[in-house]
Amino acid sequence: MSDGEPLVRWQWIGDHAGELADYTGIHLRLGLLPVLFGLIISVPLGILCHRRRWLYGPVLTVANILYSIPSLALFMIFVKYTGLTERTVMIPLTLYTLSVLVPNVVDGLASVPEPVRQAATALGFGPIRRVVQVELPIAVPIVIAGVRVAAVSSISLVAVGQLIGQGGLGYYITRGLQLDFPTPIVTAIVLIMLLALTTDALLVLAQRLLTPWSRSKVTAS
C-alpha cells in the first residue's frame, strides 16, 4: 500500500453505493439459503436421531468431520461437479451448518419435559402431530440458538467463495488486494459483519415472537 493512503476513502463508498447494495443482496442469499437448507435437513434428521439414539453418534461424527474440512478445499472438491456456480459455495456451507443444527435439534427435543410428552399422548396426539405441534415448539429456543451460530458463521464464510468467483461481498476483498487499495476490503469486512450481526439480532427477535411463553429465559450458546 502506498504511504498516506487512508484506511477508508469515503468518496469510494459513495461512488459504489449501488453496486455495494447488489453484492450485499447476493451475499445474503449465498449465506442464508444454506442455513435454510441446513434446517430442512437437520429437523427431520434431528427427530430421527432423537428417536433412534444409536444414530446420533455416527451422524454427529460425520457432521463434525465435514465441519472440520477447510472451506477452500471443500469448494474445490465440488467444483468438479457443480462448476464455478453459486451451488458450489452453498452446498459446503449447508454441510457446515449440520454440525450445529443437528445437535441443537436433538438437545431441543430432549428439553421437552416427559410429563408434557405424556400429556400430549393422553390427549390423543399421534407421534407426528405430537412432534410438530408440541415438541418442536418447545424446542424452538434451543434450535434458534443453533440457527444463530450457523447463520453468523455462514455469512462470514461466504467471502472465501470469491476464490471460485462466487463470494458475494468477497468480491471487494480480492479486488482491494489486486488494486492494493484497502477501502474496498474494509468496506466488505464491515458490511459482512453488519449483515451477520443484524441477522443474529433478527433471529433473537424471531425467537421472542415465536415463543412468547419463554421470554424470561432466552438461551444462547
Partner: protein, 229 residues
C-alpha cells in the same frame, strides 16, 4: 461415483509424481509451513484464551464482555481480515500470524469460560470445604471438570486456524493452500485437487489428535456429558 474415483486417481497421480516431494515449494515444505503457521498461532491463542477464560470463569467478572466478544468474533470474515492485514502490512508472516491468533482466541476463551462457569457450585464449595486454596480449587477441581469444553474450544480454534492458514495462500503466503491457489490461477485441476486432498487429510489428522486427547486426559466420569457445541 466414477467421478469420485477419477478425482482420487488424480490425487494419486499428483502425489506419486516425485517432483512434488522435493525442493522449493514441494509438499514437505508447504506442509511444514502450514503446520508452523497453525501450530504457532494456536499456541499463542491458547496461552491468551486459556488464561483469560480461567480468570473470568473463576471470578465471574467480565462474563458479559466474554459473550459479546465471542459473538462478534464469529462474524469476522477471516478471509477478509487476512487479506486486509497483507494489504496494510505487506507480505510477511508475522502480521498474518497475529491475525490468526486473534481469530483463534475467542473460541478458546468462551469455551474455557463456559466450562469453568458450568462447574456445579456445590463441587466448588466442597473443594473449598476440604481446605483447598483458590488456586487449588481452580487447578484441581474446576479445570478437570471444564476439560471437555476447554478441549472443544481448542478444537474449534484449530479448525479455524487450519482453514484460515489455507486461504492465507491467496494473498501470497505459503502453506498447503498454495497448491490450490496456484492450481486455480494456472487452471491446473490436478494441482487444485491434490492440494485440497492434503488439506482434508490434515484436517482429519487434527480431529483424530483431539479425539485421542479427549480419551486420554478427560476424566472417564465426564466423558458421557460432552455434547455442547
Amino acid at each position: 461415483m466414477n467421478d469420485l474415483l477419477n478425482q482420487l486417481r488424480l490425487v494419486g497421480d499428483w502425489l506419486a509424481s516425485s517432483k512434488q516431494w522435493h525442493g522449493d515449494g514441494g509438499i514437505p515444505q508447504r506442509l511444514l509451513e502450514h503446520l508452523t503457521y497453525s501450530g504457532l498461532s494456536l499456541l499463542f491463542a491458547a496461552l491468551i484464551g486459556l488464561s483469560l477464560g480461567l480468570l473470568v470463569g473463576h471470578t465471574g467478572r467480565g462474563a458479559f464482555a466474554v459473550a459479546g466478544v465471542a459473538n462478534l468474533a464469529r462474524a469476522i470474515p477471516t478471509f477478509g481480515l487476512v487479506v486486509l492485514v497483507v494489504t496494510l502490512a505487506g507480505l510477511s508472516t508475522t502480521p498474518v500470524l497475529v491475525a490468526l491468533v486473534a481469530l483463534a482466541v475467542p473460541p478458546i476463551l468462551i469455551n474455557t469460560f463456559e466450562g469453568v462457569r458450568g462447574v456445579d457450585p456445590a463441587t466448588r464449595d466442597a473443594a473449598r470445604g476440604v481446605g483447598m486454596t483458590e488456586w487449588q480449587v481452580l487447578v484441581r477441581a474446576e479445570v478437570p471438570m471444564a476439560l471437555p469444553l476447554i478441549l472443544l474450544g481448542l478444537r474449534i480454534a484449530a479448525i479455524q486456524v487450519v482453514a484460515t492458514a489455507t486461504v492465507a495462500a491467496y494473498p501470497g503466503l505459503g502453506g498447503l493452500g498454495r497448491f490450490i491457489v496456484d492450481g486455480l490461477s494456472r487452471n491446473d485441476y490436478e494441482l487444485v485437487i491434490g492440494g485440497s486432498a492434503l488439506v482434508v487429510v490434515l484436517a482429519l489428522v487434527v480431529q483424530i489428535v483431539f479425539a485421542a486427547l479427549r480419551r486420554t486426559i478427560v476424566s472417564p466420569g465426564l466423558r458421557a456429558t460432552v455434547s455442547k457445541s
